[in-house]
Subunit: 202 residues, 2 copies
């Protein structure tokens, strides 16, 4: 991770306030509708922001959506606990917590809608997915250096296993979410993933 | 929901044809909208079926949606290839293929919408998810009997790892889907999952 977390509220307080209201409205409108129902006008009405102010700041609904998701998504912050297992547990917990929030659910909804919208999909993957991929690569790189994983470990497979398993759990498990249960589940997933990535005994 | 389930009219060609048109319309309408935009009237218009005929057959949008998903979802058929690895490869391939289809994407969309609709979520889990859970349990049970997995292997964790990893791949990988690449990926996921589920060496 090279970049420091960017201060999200750029510019004058009045603009920051407008941005906050607009991003809240983006998440609300999108979680009630889909790509089709999501329009700058609907966001403007919800945020009580005039068309002129909205169009001055954002030129398209792609722009507005991707910016709102970037600002609000619970993306993994750089993780460095000193050991593979605790790094991955922190990553899995952040991802699972993320899927329990509105921005996390909206980003999944957008990923689904984007299957029919290649430009949006590309932007989404290059923004939202990028920080996760970087986090996973960094964690794997350090673990390889410490001798905790084979040198040819695939960070992509690791990320898809961890992300996917917690996502499947968040989507299809019926139980009411509970922070402690989720945190334990993250450990279970990580222990399984670490076994998965170690060299096959053959 | 107090009403008795409507009698299933499978028999006469005319009704079967109506059901087909309606289920197609359900998937189309739902994939363009969300729970909110999905109404019996919208489905009727798309399927060119009158309100009376539609309401006579389906009493609510929950009913209509769950029936359409059950009928159209590429759910795993019973798998029994004689060995754990080939059973799981077949399961992973079916799941990944499923997530590449409209019914698969619609079922994910419904799962997201159902986060705010506990009754729908329960129905969804008890219908769509049930066949996957049964498939995973049967595969694990036979593998344990053959000595391929420890007796206390969690079928739920296995299913969440396989389902989740292929789901994450289908949602976030940018590459254009390719059947051969997907089939190879299924093997990679399964080999990793089998290592994950074997006893930790400790």
């Amino acid at each position: 991770m090279t970049e420091a977390p960017a201060p999200r509220r750029r510019g004058r307080p009045r603009d920051a306030d407008l941005e906050d209201r607009v991003f809240d409205a983006v998440l609300e409108v999108y979680s009630e509708t889909s790509w089709r129902g999501f329009t700058l006008d609907a966001v403007g009405r919800r945020a009580r922001v005039g068309r002129a102010a909205l169009y001055r700041r954002w030129s398209s609904k792609d722009d507005l959506l991707v910016q709102a998701l970037e600002a609000r998504s619970p993306l993994p912050v750089p993780i460095d606990t000193g050991a593979l297992r605790s790094d991955l547990v922190e990553l899995a917990r952040q991802l699972l917590r993320g899927y329990r929030t509105t921005p996390g659910l909206v980003s999944l909804r957008v990923a689904l809608d984007a299957r029919a919208n290649p430009e949006l999909l590309a932007r989404l993957i290059h923004t939202l997915n990028r920080s996760r991929v970087l986090a996973a690569r960094t964690i794997v790189h350090r673990a390889v250096e410490r001798g905790e994983l084979p040198a040819d470990t695939s960070a992509t497979l690791l990320l898809e296993m961890v992300t996917g398993t917690v996502l499947s759990h968040a989507l299809f498990a019926l139980a009411t979410p509970d922070q402690n249960v989720d945190d334990d589940y993250a450990e279970l997933v990580v222990d399984a993933t670490i076994r998965a990535l170690r060299r096959p005994e053959s």
